[in-house]
């Protein structure tokens, strides 16, 4: 017989269930899939999606909710999105932006709310040095790719080099990173216009300078323009060296044959022979029509995996934010890049690899692992961090 007491009990039980179900782990992802970083942002999205699928939509075994909104690479819009994520959605983790300027724009609000920001790409020097924060976790520091390239240039015995980058703060940072380690002579240091289309003048300067090799940091379309015109201009004999972003799968796809033989450095490569990485790469290629993942996809995948491990390590108790940050700082997951640890500034101490663009067994152009350039390398800014 149905008694009112039972109904009350049922209601209480149900509401308890609802309360539990309504409290999933909330992850705010700022997608960067339109605007200036759309290509890299789409790669990151694919990495996030694969990780979420692999984990069955859960984090650390807990139900999770992944909020994804595009902010079009605009720091102002990123800020508004983060405010909404913090105030309305009350997120537990944040990740997503591609560019350093967006990361710098959203950092302070997240840190004030004690929400861990696991970078899926940018590693600005500010957050590595004076403005370091226990709630920010880098994947690499911006300069480290260039430092690895500088070390490679030394080992290769390049005595004279020309280095080239766009004339804006990040361009200077990257060349400074290279110069920090490179010990040979610089024939020329060229700064180009941001968004430059035609590189004939610079290429003529390089031809006249006759360097042993050229190091370039020209992100996105600028790099594509430059490489095509460089090879078309008959400078094939002078090797090109670049940080991995300028020679990743998206760029290779767009440039084609002229990419062959281009040396580049990165903290990850798709043919790193590690079980976690092989599983990631084959799952990625299966999900996305045989396409090789870029480093953006790998980092996005890792960012979600880091959250997963942290939720498990704190036993799902996300209210203790300091404990969550502590768990994140001691990564217990199998990263696709292999073993790594965080330095005092929450930036990784990790290996950097040399890759070269070659044809794979199917005749597809892609990066091939050559070797390790730097082992357990730490960024140059850690000393400025007071953590």
């Amino acid at each position: 017989m149905f008694k009112p007491k039972h109904a009350v009990l049922a209601a209480v039980l149900c509401s308890a269930l609802v309360a539990q179900a309504a409290d999933p782990v909330k992850v705010g992802i700022a997608l960067d899939i339109s605007g200036p970083f759309a290509a890299a942002g789409a790669e990151a999205r694919d990495g996030f999606d694969l990780a979420i699928e692999t984990l069955g939509g859960k984090l650390g075994g807990q139900p999770a909710e992944f909020l994804k909104t595009d902010f079009a690479g605009n720091p102002e819009q990123a800020n508004q999105l983060v405010t909404r994520y913090l105030q309305r959605d009350k997120i537990d983790f944040f990740t997503g932006p591609i560019a350093s300027n967006s990361a710098l724009a959203v950092g302070p609000a997240l840190f004030a709310a004690k929400v861990p920001f696991i970078s899926s790409n940018p590693g600005p020097s500010q957050f590595a040095g004076k403005q370091c924060n226990p709630f920010f976790f880098g994947q690499y520091q911006n300069d480290t790719y260039d430092e690895a390239a500088g070390k490679f240039a030394n080992e290769k015995g390049y005595k004279n080099m020309v280095i080239i980058a766009p004339n804006y703060p990040a361009g200077k940072d990257h060349l400074n990173g290279f110069k920090r380690i490179y010990s040979g002579a610089l024939k020329d240091e060229i700064y180009t216009k941001v968004g430059q289309i035609d590189y004939a003048a610079e290429i003529a300067q390089i031809r006249a300078a006759k360097p042993d090799a050229v190091f370039f940091f020209l992100p996105g379309g600028m790099g594509i323009n430059f490489i095509k015109q460089y090879i078309g201009g008959g400078l094939k004999e002078i090797p090109l060296v670049a940080p991995g972003f300028s020679a990743d799968q998206d760029v290779i796809q767009a440039v084609g044959e002229p990419m062959l033989g281009l040396y580049n450095t990165a903290h990850w490569t798709h043919d790193l022979p590690l079980p976690a990485n092989t599983a990631f790469v084959s799952a990625f290629r299966k999900k996305y029509d045989g396409r090789y993942p870029t480093v953006y996809a790998a980092m996005a995948y890792d960012a979600i995996m880091a959250m997963d491990a942290a939720v498990r390590d704190v036993g799902g108790k996300l209210d203790d934010r300091a404990a969550v940050a502590k768990a994140l700082a001691k990564p217990s997951f199998k990263s696709v890049r292999g073993e790594f640890s965080y330095g005092a500034n929450n930036y990784p101490v990790q290996n950097y690899y040399l890759r070269v663009v070659e044809k794979d067994a199917e005749g597809k152009l892609t990066n091939k692992l050559v070797g390790t350039v730097m082992e357990k390398h730490q960024d140059a800014y850690v000393g400025e961090c007071a953590l």
């Binding site: 759309a38 700064y191 004939a200 006249a208 323009n225 767009a254």
Partner: protein, 306 residues
Amino acid sequence: MDAIFIFEQLLNGLGYGLMLFLLAAGLTLVFGIMDTMNLAHGSLYMAGAYIAAKVHESSGSFLGAVLVAIVATILIAALIEWLVVRRLYSRDHLAQVLATFGVILIADDLVKAIWGPSPIMAPTPAALTGPVQLLAELPYPAYRLVLLGVGLAVALGLYLLVNHTRMGMLVRAGASNRSMAEFMGVRVGRVFSFVFALGAALAALAGALMGPIGAVQIGMGEAILIPALVVIVIGGIGSVRGAFVAALLVGLVDTAGRAFLPPMLRAVLPPSLAADLGPALAGIAMYVLMAAVLTLKPAGLFPARA
């Protein structure tokens, strides 16, 4: 710095100038004759580049790809004219800028929906990949020589069309005084359609030819629209001759700024100052040129409207 280096940079400047001319010629015709600011010109350029790259990839014929790109882009332009631009002829420039800027945003998203957000491959035609030994010490990219040739041919063709044909006469009449031309019995509407199609064809040609030496990606049209606008302002809006001279000037000044300014400054200034100043000055060289021309001749070098 030897003579060959200077000669090479001169060629580079001419080449860049002629590329800008292909885009600016269409823009200046449409603006000069129809008094319509069509920012979507950059999107037509992008359409030309994407279509040419895709057709080239699947057919293997570069020439065929360029022709298909031109025809397809004319059709797209006709659609845009019919849907949007036709309604804007009588409106003010702000409305035109806003509406055609909207077209840019839609075009960028359409391209992303069709071909994805990543830049696509636009290979150089196989016969033109390598350099040509122009002088004993000067290898020059074969493809860039072709660009130079096409740019000059288009300039000559436009000159003949505008100055020595009946259609050209009507175009000039429309550009210098539209209402007077209408009173004299010129069917300005027909001239408008012709000019819009011609502008689209030139934009598509420029896009298709730029593909092999540049990034074929979303937003490529906006990036090149800025120097193209500088060119038509310097040349005098509506004047093809002005666009030609201004494009070569901008190409030469920009290239010279990048090639010669930094080393010259390094010779006379302390290194740290020169390192900051050189690229900054080179970056604004073409705007300085524009400011100088506008100070001396506020309507540009060859104003179409007297």
